[in-house]
Assembly symmetry: C2
Homo-oligomer: 388 residues x 2
């Protein structure tokens, strides 16, 4: 498998852009404006539920745009952090003084790493790079390697004993993990948090938890309620993925009231956008929650089919996912870079090349589940490319 001339030219332009984006992919806007000849029809790099985006758009259309209320949300200052925290708290049944609202989860990750973390931070790799890139000067980042031979599944007992015998101050776990999508059950999370209650900080990032499930009811099993027992627990939640609204920058976290006070004592007053405040008001409403649950279930069931279909393909190895994306390894000496470029440039499908993911060795690509039609197109294209 080789790139043609056009593909090679575009790849070079992308590399230049990518070098400016650090260890993250350039946004679809950035790519489109830098390389106008690119025609991206499916964004499988970004990990979100498109049906949830539709739902938010429907509410926004009828409640804000058609009524003219949109103006208020653009013109005026949104409410302060504590006020929005109360709305979220009522919705998730956690006291509002334990909630810190962020301009996306990324602002919370930054705040937590800059303000609360020092000493040895154990990051499980491969994982989302900001957890090591945003560390402050007082932090020594150390790594716990998820094993390829175990399919990057966390061995909970080995992990706990490793933390105990090493002088670790703080840990971070993403559940389900990015980029492999492996899920830690609630009872295992309880075990980890219980055994490691002496740590200074336990960060659990649940940005993808709405895509995971433990039973047929697809109930979301958040660690949030453990906050009442463990002062060192910090649960971080992006709304960008499960609710499909990365552009409005919504996120929140659950932590001790003492820590929320520390953050709000000299900052973070008006960090929500107007549309984020509107979203959290929807999030608190039963009518929205019911409709959201429908699109969540639909998306999970379509994602299951997508992952199973991918597993049938020869020439790739699919790693187990309980999230809304798939990590697959290209076998038979196919280069992930070439495969990724062909997908993007010739077929308009944007996926995530995983070369820069620390702790991931091999020819890996991560791709999101999108709508039913898009998934079919992704599947057909991957199949065709593998047969070339």
């Amino acid at each position: 498998m080789k790139l043609n001339k056009f593909e090679s030219e575009v790849v070079n332009k992308i590399k230049i852009e990518k070098s400016k984006s650090g260890s993250h992919s350039p946004s679809i806007f950035t790519l489109a404006s830098i390389i106008p000849e690119l025609d991206i029809t499916i964004d499988g790099c970004f990990l979100s539920n498109p049906y949830a985006t539709n739902l938010f758009l429907d509410f926004m259309q009828s409640e804000l745009i058609e009524t003219g209320k949109m103006r208020d949300f653009l013109e005026y200052y949104p409410s302060q952090n504590r006020f929005i925290a109360e709305i979220i708290g009522n919705t998730i049944n956690i006291p509002g003084d334990h909630i810190f609202v962020g301009n996306g989860a990324i602002e919370i990750i930054q705040a937590v790493l800059h303000r609360f973390i020092s000493g040895k931070l154990l990051v499980t790799i491969p994982t989302f790079s900001s957890y090591y890139e945003f560390a402050n000067d007082l932090t020594e980042v150390t790594y716990y390697n998820l094993k390829k031979e175990n399919g990057y599944v966390l061995d909970v007992d080995d992990y706990i004993s490793y933390v105990k015998k090493t002088k670790i101050d703080s840990i971070v776990l993403i559940n389900p993990n990015n980029p492999d999508g492996n899920y830690i059950t609630f009872s295992d999370i309880q075990k980890i948090v219980g055994e490691l209650s002496y740590l200074k900080n336990i960060i659990i990032d649940e940005s993808f938890i709405h895509f995971a499930y433990e039973d047929e009811d697809l109930k979301v099993m958040s660690a949030a309620k453990l906050i009442h027992q463990y002062e060192n627990l910090i649960v971080i939640k992006s709304m960008s993925k499960d609710f499909g609204i990365a552009g409005i920058r919504s996120g929140y976290s659950i932590m001790s009231a003492f820590r929320v006070n520390q953050l709000l004592s000299n900052g973070y007053l008006w960090n929500s956008s107007g549309l984020s405040e509107y979203f959290f008001n929807l999030y608190a409403r039963e009518d929205f929650q019911n409709l959201y649950n429908d699109v969540r279930r639909r998306y999970i069931s379509e994602t299951k089919i997508f992952i199973n279909d991918l597993k049938q393909l020869e020439g790739i190895k699919v790693y187990g996912s309980k999230s809304n994306f798939v990590l697959f390894e290209l076998l038979n000496n196919i280069s992930a870079e070439v495969f990724h470029s062909k997908l993007l440039i010739t077929h308009g499908i944007y996926s995530r090349l995983c070369y820069d993911k620390i702790g991931l060795e091999g020819e890996f690509i991560r791709i999101a589940s999108r709508g039913f039609g898009d998934n079919a197109q992704i599947l057909t294209t991957i199949k065709r490319l593998l047969n070339e």
Copy 2:
């Protein structure tokens, strides 16, 4: 002048809410949801150009909503900080590597105070309270008092000699200043920055500078271009006021490339909302800038009339403003609190009671210029209240 029973009851509810908002006013959303019996028809607490909001809404309506492109701005991650900085840089003719984009100016104020300021910070009072409230533990905030007898106008020579004879590390000036609206001319700013080039930091907040002018052309005289000469200069710019878009949280700052790198080295990657990125794309377009200049001129001329009319009223003293708001003092022993409450509760006009502004002694109210009709209503109502 006294409150009636209904007014007193509502005042008590507002006081409870206000105690949660610190030294800032509760947003109009917060007030509306806590005290539904309040019917606010004019928000003169928030300081923005409503014609600019209309302009943004018109562009958004035709370019995003009617085309269906709105979805992209809500669903996808916006571009990274540096990418948006380049767009702004091209527009204001400053290299992009000198620009840091913020989730509103408030995020930049916080970043600058937390990351760059230590030692003695001189804050000119009365002023925007975040400049002392957000200071970190390494900072000692000291105050330079603007004198009431001079109408809170900055005496530039006295200020420079005060800074020189006191061991000050950093200074902050808001131009035009909030809450009095006094403007420091560009030549005076040049003098201050030139004489105090030995300081660690000179912060100039130009969040209201589009409302100021020095000649008939109404040219905006920003200190931004001085960045090439002075490494210690930090210019902060909110877009919420002059462009009437507080809800999308847009702001930027101009500082040395070294400092921008420091901030971006471990954070602030995706702190813009999708609509903020869209706004900065508009900001870079000539068609938008031309139309914006029309609404800016219209608003400035209407604001001039509003301020002049207020100056004619007996019973209040109006302080000179080159911004889009007016600070006035109630004479004849009228309580600002009672006046503010009557304006809000009985007449639906939300103004800013200034009791908590450090450095402001007396019965002060700040009120924004709104559209022509709203200004007329504000004027009539104030006149009527003064004659009661």
